[in-house]
């Protein structure tokens, strides 16, 4: 039932689109109907899949690296007070500079291949992951820490059994945001300079007025992004079942 409702909404939107295209008489090289997009998608399934694989890899690697880096930064911020004044500016700068402005530079440095797109994705998710996780680590109930201290807990065990699980809900909201924006990083990277990936395919198709192919690539990207989001969200929900409001 929870899956059915979004599907109904989605089908309704597609129907509206088809009706609009049929009634308005917009030429298909400007706006193809969803039917045509689907047909084109299946015709070029191999091509799209090849490019989708590249983009998916960029997103997943970027997400993994960005989460690791953000998690490590948050732990440093939480545990080394003296490091805070040094790390905080980096954190803020990483968010203040628009990643879009950095994209050409990253392509110049890391090349046309995957590395520059992974770097984009990492940059775009680093801030939400670090900020939320740090916030969670900082808000550990002092009563739990007192309890851990009177129980003669080791610092590592207190981190593992108290501070990390206590920070998990905050970390989860950061990771959800990261999952939603990571594809943006990868695709922007592909637009700036690449020879593979769904972003590249979209730009390429657009330049040749193959709008149906562009839409098919866009659909694939959206489908992957949504599937990724729901997968991560489900995993996080399972891990946070203990929360009272779930």
């Amino acid at each position: 039932m929870t899956l059915l409702r979004p599907l109904i909404v989605f089908a309704g939107l597609l129907a509206l689109w088809q009706i609009f295209v049929s009634l308005s008489g917009v030429p298909p090289y400007l706006l193809p109907g969803p039917g045509q997009v689907i047909v084109t998608g299946f015709d070029h399934a191999g091509l799209i899949a090849g490019h989708a694989w590249v983009t998916a890899a960029e997103i997943l690697i970027g997400l993994a690296l960005g989460t690791l880096l953000g998690g490590a930064s948050a732990l440093c911020l939480a545990y080394f007070r003296s490091a805070r004044p040094w790390l905080m500016p980096i954190l803020v700068i990483s968010q203040a500079i628009p990643v879009f402005a950095l994209a050409p530079l990253l392509v110049l440095w890391f090349g046309y291949g995957m590395a520059s797109k992974v770097a984009m994705a990492v940059l775009i998710i680093y801030f939400p992951v670090t900020a939320s996780f740090f916030d969670g680590l900082r808000r550990t109930d002092p009563g739990w820490l007192d309890l851990g201290q009177t129980m003669n807990g080791t610092p590592l065990a207190i981190l593992r059994h108290i501070r990390l699980p206590a920070a998990l809900p905050a970390f989860a909201s950061g990771l959800r945001v990261a999952t939603a924006v990571a594809p943006i990083g990868a695709v922007v990277g592909e637009w700036v300079g690449s020879s593979a990936g769904l972003g590249y395919l979209m730009l390429h198709a657009n330049g040749r007025m193959q709008i149906d192919l562009m839409f098919a690539a866009l659909f694939t990207l959206a489908l992957f992004a949504v599937a990724l989001y729901f997968t991560i969200d489900t995993i996080l929900r399972r891990a946070l079942l203990w929360q009272a409001d779930n």
């Binding site: 739990w144 309890l147 003669n152 080791t154 065990a157």
Partner: protein, 266 residues
């Protein structure tokens, strides 16, 4: 039950004591050369106005605060707070053995099960804290405290968040299960202190002083309907009122001194 000071009793070995301790908290001098000792195997209850430093004294015993001067000796303690401090991500039994987890020791589930049974929660060991009532949660906290098996138990108003009946039951359970241990109970409730305390102290003043103990006779937990207990309650309330008045006077004097300093020569 007679109102007697502890002088009639032979002093027993001192389990935990604070000697000549000075503590400043939030820029305020809480203790100045404070001495206080707990008697082994007895329940000591500590009453006093809010903000007088009862919790700080407990934290000194727990080693969670260090005195600016003097010393606090208590050895191994376990600690029960007003909040049950259960970890919501752990089941009841995992909460009970959290101490061993934190010391990276293998947990003794068998003993944890016995203790959970003794607090009446044998059938809830796999549940998460969110599905338990406040009284049940505090019983898990009690099982966790017993699991630590420490000679000194420090309690900071562990029963104050509970309804009257649950509180009475949990008090009796705690007395039964903690028998033989040294207990320091901080409370706001004179009746609670009279039900549970072998020695009852009132803490008052800035810096705080602790007066001589009130030592009600009879085994704990005492019957709340006992007329002697009610008579003691009147005495205790009188002491608490005096303490609160002294506190207000001290605050007024401090304020007047500050005003005089502000408006000094000029």
């Amino acid at each position: 039950m007679s109102l007697s000071d502890d002088s009639s009793r032979l002093p027993s070995p001192l389990a935990a004591r604070i000697d000549n301790a000075t503590l400043t908290y939030g820029g305020r001098l809480l203790f100045d050369g404070l001495d206080f000792a707990l008697e082994e195997g007895l329940w000591t209850c500590l009453l006093g106005p809010t903000g007088v430093g009862k919790t700080s004294l407990l934290r000194l015993f727990a080693g969670l605060e260090k005195p600016d001067a003097g010393q606090a000796r208590a050895g191994a303690v376990s600690y029960m707070a007003q909040q049950d401090l259960l970890m919501p991500w752990l089941t009841v039994i995992e909460n009970t053995v959290i101490g061993s987890r934190l010391r990276a020791e293998p947990p003794d589930y068998e003993r944890a099960r016995v203790l959970l049974a003794s607090v009446g929660l044998a059938d809830r060991s796999g549940d998460y804290p969110r599905s338990l009532s406040g009284g049940m949660r505090q019983r898990v906290a009690l099982a966790r405290t017993l699991m630590e098996d420490r000679p000194l138990v420090l309690m900071d108003e562990p029963f104050s968040g509970l309804d009257a009946i649950t509180r009475l039951r949990l008090q009796s359970l705690a007395v039964e299960l903690l028998r033989g241990r040294t207990v320091l109970l901080v409370t706001h409730d004179p009746l609670e202190a009279l039900r549970l305390g072998d020695r009852i102290h009132v803490m008052a003043g800035r810096p705080a002083r602790i007066n001589k103990a009130l030592t009600p006779a009879g085994d704990t937990p005492r019957d709340p309907a006992d007329p002697a207990l009610l008579a003691h309650q009147a005495e205790l309330l009188a002491r608490l009122t005096a303490a609160a008045d002294a506190d207000a006077d001290a605050a007024a004097t401090a304020a007047a001194a500050a005003a005089a300093a502000d408006g000094g020569p000029g």
